[in-house]
């Protein structure tokens, strides 16, 4: 059953990823991205990271891709681009070869190094042990002890995001309104 889940999720992930790269219509690409994200959420679940799975769906599917779609629709850039004309001679095959090489490197690394992955652990408590909230509890503990700095920095990061958007999106009187669609 676990194998079945893995195969399904992997198929989702890969199909979605290929969709992002290959689909010419940005909306279709975004939907493919959602597919991938769901696949990954499923994988999180099957790796007993329930909390992350939920957050993944909420944040990625619920916010990030929606934003993508929003921008696409708002700006009306949803026409399909011609995949043929955008190729730049040697660049595309080169990029593909490069990426393939990179993947080969990574896969070799993983296969080579899998045995050396340190197995001894001081306790990732999974739901199996009967503690219903174990995963969430552990993550919370980790966030608020080792990573409390990171957590605080996150707030600055979000300020950046907010202020940044204001800077980018705000219009001055002097600038003409060029957008056709308004919400």
């Amino acid at each position: 059953m676990e194998l079945f889940v893995f195969i399904c999720a992997a198929a989702m992930v890969l199909a979605g990823a290929l969709g992002v790269v290959l689909r010419s219509n940005p909306v279709h690409a975004a939907l493919s991205l959602v597919l991938t994200l769901f696949g990954i959420a499923v994988m999180f679940v099957s790796q007993q990271a329930e909390f992350l799975a939920a957050v993944q769906v909420v944040v990625y599917a619920g916010a990030i891709v929606v934003l993508f779609l929003f921008v696409i629709m708002l700006l009306g850039v949803d026409r399909a681009e011609n995949l043929e004309t955008e190729s730049l001679g040697v660049q595309r095959p080169l990029a593909i070869i490069l990426s393939l090489g990179f993947v080969a490197l990574l896969v070799t690394t993983i296969v080579q190094g899998r045995d050396s992955l340190n197995m001894r652990g001081d306790g990732l408590i999974t739901a199996d042990s009967g503690d219903h909230d174990a995963n969430i509890r552990q993550i919370a503990r980790s966030i608020f002890s080792n990573y409390v700095v990171a957590f605080e920095v996150t707030s600055v990061l979000l300020i950046v995001a907010v202020v940044g958007t204001v800077v980018l999106a705000r219009k001055r009187k002097s600038e003409k309104d060029l957008t056709g669609v308004s919400a």
């Binding site: 490197l105 919370a140 990171a150 920095v153 219009k171 001055r172």
Partner: protein
Amino acid sequence: MLFAAENLVGPSIPWFYLNPLFILLGGIVVLMLVGSLTPQWPRHWYGIVSSVTAAVALVSTVLLWDNVTNEKPRAIFGDALALDHFALLGTISICAAVFLCSLLTSDYLQRDSDDGPELYVLYLTAAIGGIIMVASNDLIVLFLGLETLSLSLYVLAASNRRRSESQEAGLKYFILGGFSSAFFLYGIALVYGATKTTNITGIFTALSSSQSVPRNDVFLLVGTGLMLVGLAFKVAAVPFQMWTPDVYQGAPTPVTAFMASAGKTAAFAALLRVTLTALPTRVDDWRPIIWVLALLSIVVGSLLAVTQTNVKRMLAYSSISHAGFMLVGIEAAAHPNSADAGNGISGVMTYLLLYTVLVIGTFAVVGLVARKGDTATELSDFKGLGKQQPALALALTVFLLAQAGVPLTSGFIAKFGVIKAAVEVHSYAIAIAAMVASVIGAFLYLRIMVSVWLEDETAENTPIQVPFLTGLVVAMAAIFTIVIGVVPGWLLDATQQVAALTGR
């Protein structure tokens, strides 16, 4: 149920040592409140608030210096931040950059009839990100700092809405920056796989005993490589430099100055931190990478700089070649068995501090020459500057000579420091290559000087005004450049302590 229910004891928080961060945060809050509460402040006040904040943060960092001297370098805040002179010096550089760039931005915005607190907020957030990077003792914290800094920079680069180049620069920077972040992150993941921790001290400890992580652990090797790739993007080392010229040219000039100063400082400090505190036991694995990067950066940066006609692009390539010099210092520091390896660290950090001031001064002048609209940055736009504004031209000359490494300027002290460090660990080849390539680079600075002094102005060049704050920045930078060039002793004294890193 390993955890007894509800008794999480968080790490103790050394508030005192986080002063600079809090001051910067306070500045952000003030600016945002003011920006949202008042309709519009009188001119220059936003910039002055921002630079005063940075200055206060700088002073508070300096005040911490002795405290840190008395106590040994150590990790604080749940072992996630490092408290050492290295971090403090990085903080000082970054705060200085914010201080100077805020003043520049103030005049810049006035000239282009624009104003508002947002850009300053972004400077301050970028500074916080940078400081976190400089002081981080955990890869995840480092990554978050990196992203805070980068995101601020993306927005800053794209912030001029009247110039499409600016937004394109922001986009290009953003895409490539995100791309490189992904590599960096993958690197972190693999290193985590190898060492089971993301804490830098933890990684060091894990790698110190050969049982826990075997010498040829592929996860670690590839992870290290990927992290280096990610950071090399950020420091703009060849062959990961392709974003630099476009972004430097497109971004508003004060922002370019900020990217070249604070951005570079943070990225290099992070690179040093990662390589030297996390992975010192594996120097043989990564030193060759640094070696190659350094050589390529210096040579390619200098060579490509020569072919440019736009001064901002030239300076972008020159910053690449400067990055190469700093990499030479890192290469020198990567000889842990040598007694003098520490000089590499202090050499790089000194270089960063001096280059910060230098490059901001340079771009301050470039920004003035760029005139209203921030577009006149071709070489020909500099013609006749020497006749029109001799003092400004003289300052520019000082900066350019310093960048070329002419003695009695801070640039020479900086180069001398890293070359000395390299020679001390017997890396002669890279030292000589660096120096020779810097001669090629000097040609570039000469070209600018030729335009400034030796060519007559063209009729269409509008006159250049020097607003007060920018003039102040230029003057301060020029004086600093000369003073450090003549009496660098006190600075070197201080920076020698930098080599003692937390966890080593």
